[in-house]
């Protein structure tokens, strides 16, 4: 697993992809910081994360689109699948590499609260829980992207289908408020990854929400493993 992780992580920085992702990520988060903290003269990062979450879904698929589809296209999956490692190891190794690259971007954004702490009081609890929540949320999106990438050998198809699924979940909140049936409305809200995020911005580490995101990650990684297992057993 470490071999896969190391190679994939490096691959992001051997190609332009990692740099492109980080550039866009830092550029966007810088603009968000400027708008929601500097111009608004507040040290609360609630506004920052609220806008980050709607932007992140558009740039995270950049990280995941090549994850499995590139291997399929270049036939390097023959190397990975005939090596004495389990499919779970391969999937998790690759997933963690994508998450790792994302975390590099997140680590750089830590400069914002750090810079603010020199000039005012940064609400530590809220900021910390927002970071945790945002990382969990992004982890979920990355797992969806990983799954989509395992289904196709085209990176474009992988990226677009990820956008499709994630954007659809964006509307779950909206749909739930229009649905008359209370039960269905509740279910829609319950599966929405966006609604869950609100607690984190309030400085609450809600166990239910944490379990929810981890479950999303686990489900999509499991499905990805199944995609490869199916090939082996069909």
């Amino acid at each position: 697993m470490t071999a896969i992780f190391k190679r994939e992580f490096r691959a992001y920085f051997h190609s332009m992809l990692g740099y492109v992702f980080l550039t866009i990520f830092i550029l966007l988060s810088g603009v968000m910081f400027l708008l929601s903290n500097i111009f608004s003269a507040t040290s609360s990062m609630n506004g920052y994360f609220a806008s980050m979450i709607s932007w992140a879904i558009f740039i995270l698929p950049i990280l995941t689109m090549r994850l499995f589809s590139e291997d399929k296209k270049l036939k390097t999956d023959q190397l990975l699948l005939t090596a004495p490692i389990s499919i779970t190891e391969m999937v998790v190794g690759k997933y963690l590499a994508a998450v790792g690259t994302f975390l590099v971007g997140m680590a750089i954004t830590l400069l914002y609260p750090l810079a603010m702490s020199f000039y005012g009081n940064v609400p530590v609890a809220e900021t910390t829980s927002s970071y945790v929540g945002f990382i969990l949320f992004s982890g979920g999106i990355i797992s969806i992207g990983a799954f989509m990438s395992s289904l196709t050998e085209s990176q474009i198809v992988a990226a677009i289908s990820t956008y499709g699924v994630v954007i659809l979940t964006m509307f779950l909140d909206m749909m739930s408020s229009h649905v008359k049936n209370a039960m269905i409305s509740k279910i829609l809200l319950w599966i929405s990854p966006f609604d869950r995020f609100d607690d984190f911005t309030l400085g609450v580490l809600n166990i239910e929400a944490i379990v929810y995101y981890i479950t999303i990650i686990a489900i999509f990684l499991f499905l990805t493993v199944r995609v490869f297992e199916k090939k082996r057993w069909s």
Partner: protein
Amino acid sequence: MIEICNLTKSYGNKKAVDDITFTVEKGEILGFLGPNGAGKSTTMNILTGYISSTSGSVKVDGFDILEEPNEVKKRIGYLPEQPPLYMDMVVSDYLNFVYDLKKLNKAEKLKHIQDIVDIVGIDDVKSRKIGNLSKGYKQRVGLAQALLGNPEVLILDEPTVGLDPKQIIEIRNVIKELGKERTIILSSHILPEVSAVCERVIIINKGKLVAEDTPQNLSHRFTQNSKLQIRVMGNQSDIIDVLKTVPGVKSIVVLGQKETDSFDFEIETTVPLDAEFSKQLFMLCAQKQMPILMQKEIAASLEDIFIHLTATDSQIKQEPYAEENENSGGETDDSDI
């Protein structure tokens, strides 16, 4: 070492591999021969656990590929048809990665990788990006990848495809050298390659196994009667008179004058072309002061056998020997294809 039993792989209605059964002994080099699309790569992909079979079993060193895939994969080094290379990686980084991927002993890493690099001769491109290498070098890097960890079984899918003649000879020598200690399955649609390196040949066509033997036996099997081409110096009719006295000679065909003062003949015999026959032939000619300038056995070439076995015309299959003898002069009759 490798046991393949009733292996079948279907894609919808089409059977890519149809009920193939064979075994490979430890230390053997097996040639896997067939036209394009015969099912060679599919069989190899199943053997290495890349894809599943529809039915049948594959066992390597006693381990089943489905039940204990990691035990099987540990024992196999696989070079697929298209070498699985990451084009954005440097050769040495790539080999390091594969070494870790195969979970090999960390302590011997550098030395082992260097050994393999020397065997396949890629030392001078070690620090170059794989994407920038020539096809021949990419193929070698692919071979190096398969060799890492000294697996007991090597499965090489068309290892010399796309190489220049010099590289082909080099890679063949590498394979022969490796075959001294390992079990190798090598696929190819190039016949001389298989006869040059393999001890045993399996020919498949349209997913079915059609022949299995040593290259020599295969050629003997398809030449029913033994034939000999000789060039003798002297007068044509005198030579024929002498040849008729050689025990075992069935028929003599005059091939004409190819060198001054000599004639070429094709002799068909009823006895095997062993030392005894050659001795008698030589002595009788020598007595009459007729030097034999050249003598060569005419065996069906693997090309003949191959074309014969894989011919779509069922008529040819039903009466193999009669058809074969017409073409057994070494020249292939193209109309059969």
